[in-house]
């Protein structure tokens, strides 16, 4: 009998969270129960983006686990709790609430604490550090009563803190002991350029001087520098570096590094074989890494070690690119030219505030290699340059071209070698991206666009700085394959779906013929006709089988049902939100019995009736429509279903009426035709029983209202919907949903689900939020009106077909023998229901569409 093991994780910051995510993804929870202990009152959040808290304004926006729990029952998360001691002998930890927990493996992810230099007055009210959301709240409260703030420390984090004080409206000073800002990343000239930018924002910079004392009576009133200068200030923020939080390990007798941090080996294992350390509290090989990306790598390494894998952590790329107070700053590789024989190429434009330096070395062959560099004021070249360092490739003949201001027409991508790491956030090489584009990864088709490459390789999905390079690699590949990167739909329209949509909106075309005559060529095909049909339906909502559009409809829309493998159809009546009366349930049963149909409950909380011959469809609809059913649009690229849990009506956990809302939303958006099928879900509490985050739009109830998530996807490439807006009342929710859906319908590509559409938008979810929530384009009212038009013109397609002899005349088996059923269709019985008979020579198993079927020639 296999014994389940217990894994305790100390700390729920970014790295602790990443560790748990990776553990769940890679199946570690099949053998381990995980207890995560976090001392902050909330689950992990994005500390790197801490400053945006003042802009975004809510902790929710920064959260890495908005649900507050993992959707794996074997992971328990205890917040507001810390581990006070570790007993490595007995393998137990003692929690701050007095509970003792045994472990088989312990992962320390306790992070780092801000370093506060021992200056007099540092304990006065008005002194802060800059690490947690609570710190920011305290700084905000103090700033409300202050005019001036001083940041002690001019490194990365200090400038972030200065930015926060500027945002809070304080006159801001930065004090840095080193002779320049960002001394770890920048050289003197780079630092000077940065100072000029920052001073333009009204920040006063004091470099080369230490803080002498903080003065005040009962609160901060001033700060005296070592050179005697005194600054009047009411707020002081210390950001003079961080120190690993290794006390737990020290107390337990676990080895620590000379400069702090739990000493760990390449598998991030400490001197105790059952204890690991990851992130800023760890010191692999004695060195601490104060960035999140190396911490993530360590987390993956430990998951691997616990799975008996061989992953190792052997150091990390400490290159950084960021925007500080709106200024691009990047530093990578050997930025200080410490390598023997290194040469520096510098381009500086003091007027434009740009400083760029490349560090190169001459090879024996007489060419140059790039060792590192610094970019201030314009870091666009970072994405191209950084992989050149890791690959050691020879530079082009004129390396200075890489940093000189771009001349028009110059976009050429110097040929990176395959092994160059293009995306350092997720460690993706050029070769991996090329593979994704040319042959696909695993079961997947080759990628044809950036969003697909992002989801297949993760390249470009974190900081985005490598996206231009990824795009170039994709285009380069296509060019090599002789494919033209053409955004046109097909040979008939050299236009994208969005362009066609706009043309229809502007000119009011109602007929395919007019559109193709004016803006295309030929007679259309199976690609462009359904697109035009969908666009016309989205804008005018005429019946899809109307005379103008009937010939454009794709396989299923053409008969308002879903074609199945033997040429028969399946029928799905709408069951809004999955709620159905017993009487209606009985009707569905009776219809299925009377027409001898196979019945199956679908994943969307509806019932699918299979095996209807095309000519039977109207009679089946008649029975359903008479009983009060309507089309469920299971056949359309349109709203399918809005799934719901049980909600507060019946559920003892529910906090809102999710069923009522799901029904209302499904009825509101029913019949809405879109670039691809649309699915929704509403959960009545954070337990998420409706799986709403796997839908294009998902709503989850909170105590205060509804959280709206968008861009989720089940199917082959699952994606979790992301939070668009939180704590909405029903009216706001519906407004945002109206806008979101219409924005998607207007701008997405053909057959592009919302998840890939959001990913492909320039700016992603932020862009969606800007348009939908903040109404930055001023489109809100227009989008809502478009939705109102759709809702006002909705009619049931089945009923309208039954009422129109013209439309009904199409539903016959043979135009010259309407009463003869198609003789090629037959059924067998399996488990008490019908099943299609498979033609005798059809291969069992998957259908091979690429197989060549020879045709026997008949002698005339």
């Amino acid at each position: 009998m296999y014994q389940r093991r217990t894994l305790v994780v100390a700390g729920h910051g970014m790295v602790g969270h990443r560790f748990v995510q990776a553990a769940i993804e890679r199946g570690l929870t099949e053998t381990h129960d995980i207890l995560v202990v976090g001392e902050e009152p909330r689950p992990a959040y994005d500390r790197v983006a801490l400053t945006s808290y003042f802009g975004a304004g809510s902790a929710e926006e920064l959260s890495l686990l908005p649900a507050g729990r993992y959707d794996d029952p074997r992971v328990r998360l205890r917040l507001g709790t810390s581990i006070t001691s570790v007993d490595t002998e007995g393998r137990t930890v003692l929690l701050s609430d007095g509970v003792r927990v045994g472990y088989d493996a312990l992962v320390l992810a306790t992070g780092a604490a801000p370093f506060v230099p021992p200056v007099p007055g540092r304990d006065l009210p008005g002194c802060f550090v800059y690490r947690t959301i609570e710190d920011l709240d305290a700084i905000r409260d103090a700033s409300a009563r202050a005019t001036t703030g001083v940041v002690v420390g001019g490194g990365l984090l200090g400038l972030e803190a200065a930015n926060a004080l500027v945002q809070l409206g304080l006159e801001t000073h930065v004090v840095e002991m080193a002779p320049r800002l960002m001394p770890v990343q920048l050289d003197e000239a780079g630092g000077r350029t940065l100072v000029r930018h920052i001073e333009k924002l009204g920040v006063t910079v004091h470099t080369g001087t230490a803080t002498g004392a903080i003065t005040g009576d009962g609160g901060v009133e001033g700060l005296t520098l070592a050179d005697g200068t005194t600054l009047e200030t009411q707020v002081v923020v210390f950001s003079a570096g961080i120190r690993p939080r290794d006390q737990l390990a020290r107390d337990a007798g676990i080895a620590v590094a000379e400069r702090g941090g739990v000493l760990v080996d390449e598998q991030c294992r400490s001197s105790d074989p059952h204890v690991y350390a990851v992130g800023e509290c760890a010191a692999p090989g004695g060195r601490m890494y104060g960035l999140v990306a190396p911490g993530y790598s360590m987390a993956e390494v430990v998951v691997d070690a616990l799975l008996d894998g061989a992953g190792t952590f052997t150091g990390a790329d400490m290159s950084t690119k960021l925007k500080l107070l709106g200024v691009d700053v990047a530093s990578f590789g050997d930025a200080f030219a410490t390598t023997q024989g290194a040469l520096e190429l510098v381009f500086a434009d003091a007027v434009a505030g740009v400083y760029k330096k490349l560090v190169v070395s001459e090879t024996e062959q007489g060419s140059y290699r790039l060792l590192g560099g610094i970019l201030v004021g314009d870091a666009t070249a970072y994405g191209v340059l950084r992989p050149m360092v890791s690959s050691g490739m020879a530079l082009p003949d004129n390396p200075e071209e890489l940093i000189l201001p771009a001349r028009s027409g110059q976009g050429a991508q110097p040929g990176l070698p395959d092994e160059a790491v293009v995306c350092s956030c997720n460690n993706v090489t050029k070769a991996a991206i090329r593979t994704a584009v040319t042959s696909g990864t695993g079961e997947r088709e080759p990628c044809a666009d950036l969003s697909c490459v992002k989801s297949c390789t993760r390249a470009g999905s974190t900081c985005g700085s490598c996206v231009p390079v990824v795009k170039n690699i994709i285009d380069e590949r296509f060019a090599a394959l002789g494919k033209v990167v053409d955004k046109g739909l097909c040979e008939h329209f050299a236009l994208t779906r969005q362009e066609l949509f706009d043309l229809v909106a502007v000119h009011g075309y109602r007929r395919f013929d007019d559109l193709v005559e004016a803006h295309g060529r030929g007679r259309g095909c199976e690609v462009c006709k359904p697109v035009v049909a969908s666009i016309l339906a989205s804008q005018f909502n005429g019946h899809v089988l109307g005379a103008e559009t009937v010939a454009l409809q794709d396989t299923n829309d053409a008969y308002l049902a879903n074609i199945q493998r033997n040429g028969t159809y399946s029928v799905v009546p709408r069951i809004p939100g999955g709620e159905i009366t017993p009487d209606k349930l009985i009707v569905i049963g009776e219809v299925a019995r009377d027409f001898n149909l196979y019945t199956k409950i679908t994943g969307g909380q509806r019932i699918d009736l299979f095996g209807a011959r095309m000519e039977q469809l109207p009679a089946i609809w008649r029975r359903l429509v008479d009983a009060g059913f309507e089309s469920g649009h299971a056949y359309g690229k349109s709203l399918r279903t809005v799934k719901s849990c049980v909600g507060s009506t019946w559920c003892r956990f529910g906090v809102q009426d999710s069923v009522g809302l799901a029904i209302a939303l499904e009825l509101r958006y029913r019949g809405l035709r879109s670039p691809h099928k649309l699915k929704g879900g509403v959960s009545g509490c954070a337990r998420e029983c409706a799986e709403a985050r796997g839908k294009d739009f998902g709503v989850i109830a909170t105590e205060k209202g509804w959280n709206l998530y968008v861009g989720g996807n089940g199917g082959a490439t699952p994606a979790h919907a992301q939070l668009l807006a939180g704590d909405l009342d029903t009216h706001e929710l519906v407004r945002y949903l109206d806008r979101f859906l219409m924005y998607y319908i207007r701008t997405a590509d053909r057959l592009q689900r919302t998840s890939t559409w959001v990913a492909a938008l320039d700016g992603g979810l932020d862009r969606v939020r800007a348009v939908v929530v903040d109404d930055e384009l001023g489109l809100g009212a227009e989008l809502e009106e478009a939705m109102a038009r759709h809702i006002g013109s909705y009619e049931d397609e089945w009923r309208a077909t039954l009422e129109d002899p013209e439309k009904l005349s199409r539903f016959v088996s043979f135009v010259n023998a309407p009463d003869t059923p198609d003789p090629s269709i037959s059924f067998t019985t399996e488990r008490g229901q019908i099943q299609p008979t498979v033609p005798d020579d059809r291969p069992a198993g998957p259908v091979l569409l690429a197989a060549t079927i020879g045709v026997r020639r008949t002698e005339p």
């Binding site: 030929g522 259309g524 010939a551 040429g567 043979f814 090629s824 269709i825 079927i853 045709v855």
Partner: protein
């Protein structure tokens, strides 16, 4: 399987019964035939059986053009067939039967199955 088609023309429906750029299935000598009316009112007839999915559905496909070839895309997996000859545009080894068609006094008549030209 070579059905012995008679020489005579079999009337199946009126031209007006056919929707433009949509097909209709007809029974001709026991065979399911897909009849198509193009945008310029020409009429073509192919066997209704899609050799890839092996079901009788071609009449339900979308009609369009590739270059200057009028074609129908099977509703199952979108394989394209030339309306004139029955040749599959995606796989040169595959053909479906094609039939002579004419319109007399507004009535569509289907004739014999066309012999395949070796050079086609």
């Amino acid at each position: 399987m070579t059905p012995s088609l008679g020489q005579e023309w079999q009337p199946v429906c009126r031209l007006d019964d056919l929707e433009v750029e949509r097909g209709a299935a007809a029974l001709v000598h026991g065979q399911a035939v897909a009849i198509f009316r193009t945008h310029d009112d020409q009429v073509f007839a192919l066997g209704n059986h899609d050799p890839f999915s092996r079901v009788s559905v071609l009449a339900r496909g979308i009609v369009g053009s590739r270059g200057d070839v009028d074609f129908v895309a099977s509703p199952m997996h979108k394989h394209a067939f030339d309306l004139r000859t029955g040749r599959c545009l995606d796989d040169e080894h595959v053909w479906v039967a094609s039939y002579d068609v004419r319109v007399v006094d507004g009535v569509v008549q289907v004739g014999r199955r066309q012999e395949r030209r070796a050079s086609a």
